[in-house]
């Protein structure tokens, strides 16, 4: 699958998280090896997106911990306590973890190119000309070199999401997180984004993807993770999970989301 990937080992251990009185993550543990592609599926409100957001500390955990290549995310050990890192150090850790959002969250007042060059220049202190050159390469890779000077509002949803992927790649992350990258897109634009992600899946970067595109999950995943009510119900290879789910909850979910699609 991957080209001798050695970085981007994600280890999530017993992570808990509550919003108000509701526990949305009830002790989740998951391992994604370097270069692995994990696809998280499950019903709305099952905690998929929250889990994804804990991986780059956009969401603070209430219990448990996450490590990337053995290094704690968002915390450091002092005595027998885990102290939260200072903002500056958290930001530094985040440059290893790219994130692509459901609503793209491109900066609308900056051009596609400026969106991609902003973080490398500011967060990694790369030289401007170099960052620009690399950004153009990345925009070329997602098929948008000729739209480098367009503002996000001048681009289609699919194009915006591809710029957002290029923006995430500009930091050369070990890990890429995708939070329902195609949910806000028109059906006809979904594939242009999925094709880009498919290409990334073979590049050796660790990918963790939350999606509702079951066909895509089957194609691209090493591991499919099924979550429900804040817990991982079942995980395994796409063949195991889609063809032969063991848990009744998994079976009933897939019977609702997959079969109607084949009946058309």
């Amino acid at each position: 699958m991957s080209t001798a990937a050695t970085r981007g080992h994600v280890e999530i251990t017993n992570v808990r998280k509550s919003f108000g009185g509701t526990e949305v993550l009830k002790g989740v543990s998951l391992t994604v090896p370097p270069g692995g592609v994990a696809v998280i599926v499950g019903p709305s409100g099952s905690g998929k997106s929250t889990l994804l957001r804990t991986i780059n500390h956009l969401e603070k955990v209430d219990g448990g911990y996450i490590t990337i290549d053995g290094q704690l995310v968002g915390y450091q050990v002092r005595g027998n306590k885990l102290h939260e890192l200072r903002e500056k150090d958290i930001l530094k850790q985040r440059t290893d973890i790219g994130m692509v959002f459901q609503n793209f969250n491109l900066f609308p007042h900056l051009t596609a190119l400026e969106n991609v060059t902003e973080a490398p220049v500011v967060a990694l202190h790369r030289n401007k000309a170099e960052a620009r050159k690399r950004a153009l390469e990345l925009l070329d890779r997602v098929g948008l070199k000729d739209r480098a000077d367009a503002y996000p509002r001048q681009l289609s949803g699919g194009q915006q999401q591809r710029v957002a992927i290029a923006r995430a790649l500009a930091l050369d992350p070990k890990i890429l997180l995708f939070d329902e990258p195609t949910s806000a897109l028109d059906p006809e634009l979904v594939n242009e984004v999925l094709d880009v992600i498919r290409e990334l899946a073979t590049s050796g970067t660790t990918l963790i993807i939350v999606t509702h595109e079951m066909g895509f999950a089957r194609d691209v995943a090493d591991t499919v993770v099924f979550m429900d009510e804040g817990q991982i119900v079942e995980q395994g290879s796409p063949q195991e999970i889609f063809a032969n789910p063991r848990e009744p909850r998994t079976r009933s979910f897939f019977s609702k989301v997959i079969e109607p699609a084949f009946n058309i």
């Binding site: 780059n56 956009l58 903002e87 500056k88 930001l91 530094k92 985040r94 440059t95 973890i97 790219g98 994130m99 959002f101 609503n103 969250n105 491109l106 900066f107 609308p108 007042h109 900056l110 051009t111 902003e118 973080a119 500011v122 967060a123 990694l124 503002y151 996000p152 509002r153 001048q154 923006r167 995430a168 930091l171």
Partner: protein, 363 residues
Amino acid sequence: MSSAATTVAQSAQQSAPEPAPASAVAKSPTAATAQGAAARPAAEDAAARRAADYSGYKLVPARHPWRWVGTVVVALGVVAVAWSLATNPRWEWGMVAQWFTAQSVVNGLVETLKLTAISGALGFVLGFILALMRLSASPLLLSVSWTFSWIFRSTPLLVQMLLWYNLGYLYEKISLGIPFTDIRFFEVQTTTLISQFAAAVLGLTLNQAAYSAEIIRGGILSVDQGQLEAAAALGIPAWRRSTRIVLPQAMRAILPTAFNEIIGLVKGTSIVYVLAYSELFYTVQVIYNRTQQVLPLLLVATLWYVAITSVLSVFQYYIERHYSKGAVRNLPLTPLQKARKFFATHAPVNFDRANLDRAKDAR
């Protein structure tokens, strides 16, 4: 599909000449072929409707007679007002022109501009800090900011002005030292520190800060939370997030109201006449109290206020345009660009390079 065609054909059979089903048949030829005989009359009808050729006709836009009536009435009103302004000798335009650029009036104008610029700038800087405090997670910062806005928005500016000017009555001396000891680094009589100018700037600034804090806070709140998240996920530091990502987007919401405030401030400075501070309005008052030419001098002040506001409005247009980058698909043309385009497309002679060169060659 097939069921729809049947219904259409059936209704066509029942009442062929009715226009609605006939046009439906014309749109879907399959219906006609599906039930050939039954649909034929309807199809012929549709063919008859299609035939006529209007390609030789000229298009005539609809006329709007009432619009013309309205235009004429308003135009007459405008002419009447202009006529009376020009011909009524009591406006004393000659006097207005004479005083318009008088040295004392210009001095007053400079003072007005100075007050506006200083209290506007300081007010917005302080307002920005107050807005950040108000959005902070610290309950103390939040409540201090809230209380500041509450107090300064609830007291009349006139009262604030007089209070600052009479601060010497409340506190005779102002000093900087270590509290509860006799050590003083610096001590000064309040009345020497608070001049008319200082009281005016203090009053206008603090009042302006209270209002601009709310304007800036509103602008910041209008920026989508996802923008901050994306910036944080990219490792962009907090200060840069505010200045590069949030503020430029917030500016779109801030600018129209901010210019309202600054234009309000230009005229609001006239309130410092209570401190006998010789800005534009006070100067004009002093003059007409002496010469008794009340209206012409008020006109002088008015015209200057209009002039300042006009200049500010032009600034507003271009600054807003700058910050609308990315918020609209394509920037609208500026009036200047529009004018250029107009002359480029309507000019009788086309003064482009090629034409000039050709003219030179001909010579």
